[in-house]
Symmetry: C2
Subunit: 410 residues, 2 copies
């Protein structure tokens, strides 16, 4: 039982939270995602005298917990926006866009890092970090331009849903392979299929079987004439959501996967019960408090001094990340015509938080180096900053042809 | 930089949160405050093999942070319900009830513990823990009985507002005296007045000067015809509230007071800006997640084995806590007639979380012993459980006379 000085910890929390929010606000004012600002605040604290002044080296493990809780609740919230029932509604084009948008960056990224002489595990993690699209930034740009009803917008959002699930499966495979002791092809195939199996099983039970069972029970109750109002004083949604979220995170960690995979799947399952247990609104304030600590922690983990050595690699990875996502997704959407395919390819470019989360798991498992972590953070931040400009340009190029095209529906 | 196993911490968080919520739910079902259930869950974990099984002795400092954040945000929320402008509206009767309800338990409690041969600091802390009323339980009983419009109800709520502020001043004095090195009367008077000065100064600036300045600025703006809508995209309230809350907590801790005093005062100040920066709703989900960890932590700190030795003392303190609050508040309300005075006296009895918070500060300062901490927890839990029964009885006794009496207003 270690003694801690609560006063110092409170001071640290205060200064870090304040810096993160101020930096986030400044970024928002100039039209950049506040996440970028929060990471920058962490980089500044981690690479200046502030770090010693705040005596952060003493209690950094406390921030690890806050940051871990932040990222778990963040992924739960992402899962809440990815209900299984939506998954089936997504069209063929969006599915093709998502699959090609995952496969092309994954293979290219893996090939590049292996070619540069890194370990197979490291290459897998970097490749996995290049996979997951963070579509929040794109969604905001589309909303700001009043283009949510266009076909491009709907394909992007649909593809993002599939992309999230595929990203979790890729992460499950990569974490499984990294923690598995085997090196033979058969061993890798085994742990990889374990990861896939876990994800699919939880989706099957939580997002398919349980909602179905619930509908059956409710139908029976109604036909029996049982008063539904009896349930009114039921369990309140938020504690239940937290219990399920933490519970599945623990299970995911226990079976050798990342805790956030469990949190994401828990959110997906909960999305099917939104009408009965609404809890989306409740997670906003919790995440407003906890999530900045994750991005601060990411920034703290970036070593600017060692970054000079990997700057070229970072730029290379960023270019590859942009190009492969653009090519993969564009290919998937080629049927919609060149200009629409460009919009969709560009819209899927931002990696944002998800790429960073994947890399941070690799860092905590000590299978990727500090400098490779910095590379991924650079790539994620760069793609997030570039994407809105590219997207605005691509939309304007298309709408220039004839404004009615933008209103076309599937 | 200590290494922690996130997987184990998540498991601990999951089990503790689940137990706390289940126990809280069970208590609510039988009509007892869920806080009691959460403390019980902590007592069970802390005094059984579960403690070793969860390896809590390894990482308990992590829960200290969550519990400290929980209690800070809890007191901020209490402060939010105590706007300074309300304070001035409270009538003479309520003010007398509050003052006598603080003075009588404080003096009697101090005298009892000193008479039993404990140190002066310990006696001060126990007495301070006997002061603060936790009126939430009373408010719920009154609401359930549909009696919120009665004069007794309004005096109780009004007195509770004053009681909160007086409780913070008493706590400021006690913490000041306990951390001050001096033992002479002059030294004690000095640190005590420092505490009072801090509380009054923050109330003056945060809850009086700032709201006044704001009104002036707004009035000037309106007369200048400046568009008020310009402000629309201002700062969002929750991050600002968290920054102010943490900031004042740090300041309170820095000047040698308890962090929660700062949090409470921050909440009070924010209450004046509710129309501009509403954040009450946002603190509900944050507190639903964090506050159980405080009560769990309280339960974990209760040593059942050593409790046998102090059981008699615990009962004695509980009886004194009930009697002195009843006598003090009843005296303050004697003008309203015997039966109304009984209702008010009984309604102010529950100590709930605030008594426990005071004692936990004493425990963390190592000025009260583990067994005295258990005594306070027992007293707080017992008064909270007893109060609803006494209150229902007192109201029924009065309403039996003539139901119209209950509707009388000041």
């Amino acid at each position: 039982m270690e003694e801690i000085d609560i006063g110092i910890v409170l001071l640290q929390l205060f200064v870090l939270f304040l810096l993160a929010k101020v930096a986030g606000l400044l970024c928002e004012r100039v039209g950049i995602s506040s996440v970028i600002g929060e990471i920058f605040a962490g980089i500044i604290v981690g690479n200046t005298i502030l770090f010693q002044w705040l005596s952060l080296d003493l209690d950094i493990s406390l921030f690890e917990i806050l940051s871990e809780l932040g990222v778990i609740f963040l992924l739960f919230a992402v899962g809440l926006e990815t209900p299984f029932s939506e998954l089936r509604k997504v069209g063929k084009t969006a599915t093709t866009v998502a699959i090609l948008g995952v496969v092309v960056p994954l293979i290219s990224g893996f090939a590049l890092i292996m070619a540069l002489g890194h370990t197979q595990t490291e290459a897998l993690f970097i490749a996995a970090a290049m996979v997951a699209t963070s579509v929040g930034i794109t969604a905001r740009v589309i909303k700001d331009m009043n283009l949510t009803q266009t076909i491009e917008s709907r394909v992007i959002i649909g593809a993002a849903v599939i992309d999230d699930v595929l990203g979790m499966i890729v992460l499950a495979i990569v974490v499984g392979v990294a923690s598995g002791s085997g090196t033979g092809i058969l061993d890798i195939a085994l742990v990889a299929s374990e990861g896939i199996l876990f994800v699919l099983m939880v989706i099957f039970i939580g997002s398919f079987l349980l909602p179905k069972a619930r509908k059956k029970i409710e139908a029976r109750r109604e036909s029996n004439g049982t008063c539904v109002k009896k349930e009114k004083k039921g369990i309140s949604p938020l504690p239940l959501a937290i219990v399920v979220c933490l519970g599945l995170s623990v299970v995911a960690d226990y079976v050798g996967l990342a805790a956030i995979i469990g949190a994401f799947l828990a959110g997906m399952a909960f999305a099917e019960f939104k009408d009965k247990w609404p809890c989306e609104e409740d997670f906003h304030p919790i995440n407003a408090f906890l999530v900045p600590f994750f991005f601060l922690y990411v920034g703290l983990s970036v070593d600017v001094a060692s970054f000079g050595d990997v700057l070229v690699l970072a730029i290379l990875v960023t270019v590859l990340a942009v190009a492969t996502k653009y090519i993969g997704c564009g290919l998937g959407a080629r049927k919609l015509g060149g200009k629409s395919a460009t919009i969709i390819g560009v819209g899927m470019v931002p990696r944002g938080e998800v790429g960073i989360i994947v890399a941070s798991i690799g860092l905590s498992m000590a299978v990727i180096s500090d400098s490779m972590f910095s590379v991924v953070v650079f790539m994620s931040m760069a793609t997030t900053i570039i994407a809105p400009f590219l997207l605005t340009w691509a939309f304007k190029r298309k709408l220039g042809d004839g404004p009615c095209d933008g209103e076309r529906t599937d």
